[in-house]
């Protein structure tokens, strides 16, 4: 299973890519594989204030709806509108084109609570 070194991870299977005070969020390769066949993605709205560990999006596979939690507190500044027409990007490119949203990092201290690639790999193996 692919777990890029440069990302931070939440125990609830989201990844965070922090750059310039903002974090791009998606679900991990492991998570998309567990869900399989993503058929619908419900995203937060730009401008929404979110708390860490708050359910902010829903990823639906054929079988079930799964809540996606923001790993960090902040404001939603961008969402991946490509997923509206092509939700399967979450399956085909979980760490790339299948990203979900970008949240401002209001509390950088929260980053210490996230897992490293090594720690996340241990969690899923």
């Amino acid at each position: 299973m692919n777990v890029p070194e440069n990302l931070k991870y939440a125990e609830s299977h989201e990844w965070a890519n922090v750059e310039d005070g903002n974090a791009r969020i998606g679900i991990t390769d492991h998570a998309q594989s567990e869900l399989s066949d993503v058929v619908y993605v419900e995203l937060p709205k730009v401008g929404d204030k979110v708390e860490a560990k708050q359910a902010v999006a829903v990823v639906e596979s054929v079988k079930a709806a799964s809540d996606i939690y923001s790993p960090l507190s902040g404001t939603i500044i961008e969402v991946n509108s490509e997923l509206d027409g092509n939700p399967a990007l979450v399956n085909s490119d979980a760490f790339g084109a299948g990203w979900l949203f970008v949240v401002s990092v209001d509390n950088p201290g929260e980053l210490d609570g996230l897992l490293s690639a090594e720690e996340y790999t241990r969690q899923i193996s």
């Binding site: 066949d37 619908y40 419900e42 829903v58 639906e60 054929v62 079988k63 709806a65």
Partner: protein
């Protein structure tokens, strides 16, 4: 402790994703629900249905016993044939839906839902006559496989090399494979052509693997419970526990053709007769989402003209249609094709229309 079918090791080897399904550790999928669904609609798939229950009933009193117990009329079938039927409680509510196969002049096989084996058996045994009926619950030592898809007949012919001719739709035959006696029925839960095989559990792995290798040239895929659910929902076949329950009668479930009220007596008959005379208040109907929406799931509220009129009992994305589909019990006045309703999905309402059965039709 979750129960395992005799194919557990084979599922793990085939990278089946094993989940708890009503106390059974079962594969929900292998290659993916979509992929397996399309394999069955367009080619061939094989499902492990060993979790289902097999109850053998025989003897000079078997026919009368079953006719007093089940809603459909066993007189309507002959040896080698089968029928869909219901086991009801005293209130006419559904305990289980099942298939009765007549395997001999005085012999029957009942195939019941896995989660209902104990309840069915206890209820059926409580009504056994003092003599004339032999009742054997062989669920634990029987395996079951469902081979489903438009290429199923080709696989049958290849597998038996002309030694046996295919049973016709809803018929059952007994074949010999090595030392194993296998019951093969032309039945299924997918809406496609196909066969269901029932045989002693010890042969399960061998039969499973022989079917997979013989079926390779027809593109056979192992299929899990996920695809089984989307396939049956597209056909509007009800699932006990979701669409059927002790709170609903077969008439409410839209299944009156499997109820013979002309029979003098069967468990729940009087309740159903009264309900038929009065007219049912609610009926199970299929619906389809209109336009783009999240897929419906079970227990989503259903609205009509701003008022909640019911809730969904089954729901999924339909892989064949590419839209959300489901079933719901709705007031009779609106339980008819083309009615417009709304499904509440996480607090937002999305339009849907009531449809005719089945939701998926062959081109």
């Amino acid at each position: 402790m979750l129960k395992k079918t005799p194919l557990y090791e084979d599922h793990v080897k085939a990278e089946g994703k094993m989940v708890d399904f009503g106390g059974w550790l079962m594969p929900v999928q292998y290659s993916g629900i979509m992929d397996e669904h399309h394999a069955v609609r367009n080619g061939l798939g094989v499902f492990d249905i060993s979790h289902m229950g097999e109850v053998f009933i025989s003897g000079p009193g078997a026919k009368a016993y079953l006719n007093g117990l089940l809603t459909n009329n066993v007189e309507r079938i002959a040896p080698g044939e089968c029928q869909y039927t219901f086991l009801l409680n005293e209130k006419g509510g559904i305990i289980d839906d099942l298939l009765v196969y007549q395997t001999g002049p005085e012999a029957y096989l009942l195939v019941v839902n896995a989660s209902k084996i104990e309840e069915d058996v206890a209820w059926m045994q409580a009504q056994l006559p003092a003599e004339g009926v032999v009742f054997e619950n062989r669920s634990d030592d029987f395996a079951g496989l469902a081979v489903q898809g438009p290429r199923a007949a080709q696989l049958f012919d290849k597998f038996f090399e002309g030694k046996y001719s295919r049973p016709a739709r809803n018929e059952i035959i007994t074949v010999q494979v090595g030392n194993a006696e296998i019951l093969i029925a032309r039945t299924g839960y997918t809406g496609e052509d196909g066969f269901e095989l029932f045989f002693p559990a010890g042969y399960a792995s061998r039969v499973w693997n022989e079917l997979l290798s013989a079926g390779a040239e027809f593109g056979i895929k192992p299929c899990g419970l996920g695809a089984r659910d989307t396939l049956r929902l597209e056909m509007c076949y009800p699932l006990n526990g979701s669409d059927l329950s002790g709170e609903h009668t077969p008439l409410e479930a839209g299944m009156s053709i499997f109820v013979d009220l002309a029979k003098p007596a069967f468990m729940g008959r009087d309740v159903l007769a009264a309900q038929k005379a009065e007219g049912v208040k609610r009926r199970l109907v299929p619906f389809k989402m209109v336009g783009k929406s999240p897929p419906p799931r079970s227990h989503y509220p259903v609205y009509k003209n701003g008022e909640q009129v019911g809730e969904t009992c089954s729901g999924s994305l339909s892989p064949s249609l590419g839209v959300g589909i489901g079933m719901a019990y709705l007031p009779t006045a609106i339980a008819r094709a083309n009615e417009e309703v709304e499904i509440d999905i996480r607090g937002r309402r999305f339009p849907a229309t009531i449809e005719k059965k089945p939701l998926h039709r062959k081109n």
